[in-house]
Amino acid sequence: MHSNQLAKRLVKSKYLLKIDIGDNKKALCSNITGSISLIDPEIEDVLESYMEPKSPNESCRGDPECEKVTKELMKRKMLIEESTDEIGIFNDVVEKIRNAGMYAFTFTVTTACNFRCIYCYEEKEPERMVWKVANRCIGFMVEKVEETGQKDVSITFYGGEPLLEFNLIKKILLESRKRLPKNVHISTGLVTNGSLLTEDFAKFLENFDCVSQIPLDGLREVHDKRRAFASGKGSFDEVIGGIKNAIAYLSKVIIRVDVDKTNEKHIPALLDWLKYNNITGHKVRIYFGPVTAITKESEKHARLCIPSYAYGKKLIELTKLAQRKGFVSYFNIPAFLYCRAYRKAQVSFNPKGDIVPCLQRLGKEKEFVVGNVFNDPVYNENANNFFKRSPLDFEKCRKCKIFGFCGGGCISEAYHENGNINTISCPVFKYHFDELVKQYILDNLKYGLEKGEDRKITG
């Protein structure tokens, strides 16, 4: 360290959480930078020596190793100069995240569905996207990709059941390939119930680096009661067929088990069955999502949902179980912004060409519509509620020790609870945060996720 650095008074960040994860290791989680790091006791000693403002000269007394550690901790904003405005740093980072390029697009090609799931959160007035709208959305996408100069773009198809509109999906992808700059790689996402994912459809999507998410709620008897066709017939066989086609042709398949009080105890049997039937391996990831009842349409299911304050433990338990049985299973701990909805560059179109950041609210409530591709300007005044939202706008968040990680929670849930979009709702991560971080670290080490090896292990 230079002599002027050695003389500056440093202090431990006020917003750094330290979590004991056992085996003589601690995790450091920074609310300011969103980092999660693993440290040994010797590093902790150096960090703790700066509980009160002190210069490295005073703290290290010429020990070069201590100085080295001090420098590393400073680099990560875990140690800061006494006068540093930490909240200012947080705000700057949040602003960067909102505006950093790399646009991704979601097309809700239809809100119609061939299923009648008991906990569905979408309204039941089907609407499909017509070509005139899709074409305009493609134009908007091309404009944004050219503006940023990005070399990759992700296009996700959502519904309803998007595969009811497979011809439109095909047309959107072929047209996008034609109009996007030649050097732009297109990857795709498909959020489907799986029942219509035929071999032909899967073969087509194979050309577009497709990751699919397909829900499977249990073995036949359990799944069919929850996720039946509109006719009332069970969908288990068709969904398994879709999953097999996804494994054969797509880059990756996320089997999403929607968990509530009625199917949680049946999950071990489902995992055994999947394993016995070879629905496993490097392309398959099992994810356990909580069933939530946060729209009018799904309210009647509320008493069967596992509440947020209890779901964290369930998530850890199920993730570990799946791993023990040989599946790839992990979850994310976000930071800064609770989800994609708060980022302008994650653009979602509904069938009308409205821009609707939250995929749980596709435009029925006007507060959730932030623009329309046919308007000039495209975005309206609602956009600020999403793209300027910060957890620090809310007093409860300002007092919360994990404000930087939960980002104020889910806007859709807050709207459901309080009838107002500019409010908060504490999410799963608020509860059992320490245990969730511990599991997150173990998963990252197990799968090499910290080295960015996600696609390698699961696709």
Binding site: T33, G34, E72, I97, T106, G289, N444
Partner: protein
């Protein structure tokens, strides 16, 4: 003096700093906000 092995701070995920390059921010957004998946629904 600290033992050599103990010097490492293992970044399970690096954070984002205001001065980071845009490519690094984009990469971190994928991991931190999107959970490596563009349609990730918590």
């Amino acid at each position: 003096m600290l033992p050599e092995q103990a010097q490492a701070i293992r970044d399970i995920r690096p954070g984002i700093l205001p001065g980071d390059r845009i490519e690094n921010i984009a990469k971190a957004i994928r991991k931190i906000i999107l959970g490596e998946c563009d349609f990730y629904l918590p």
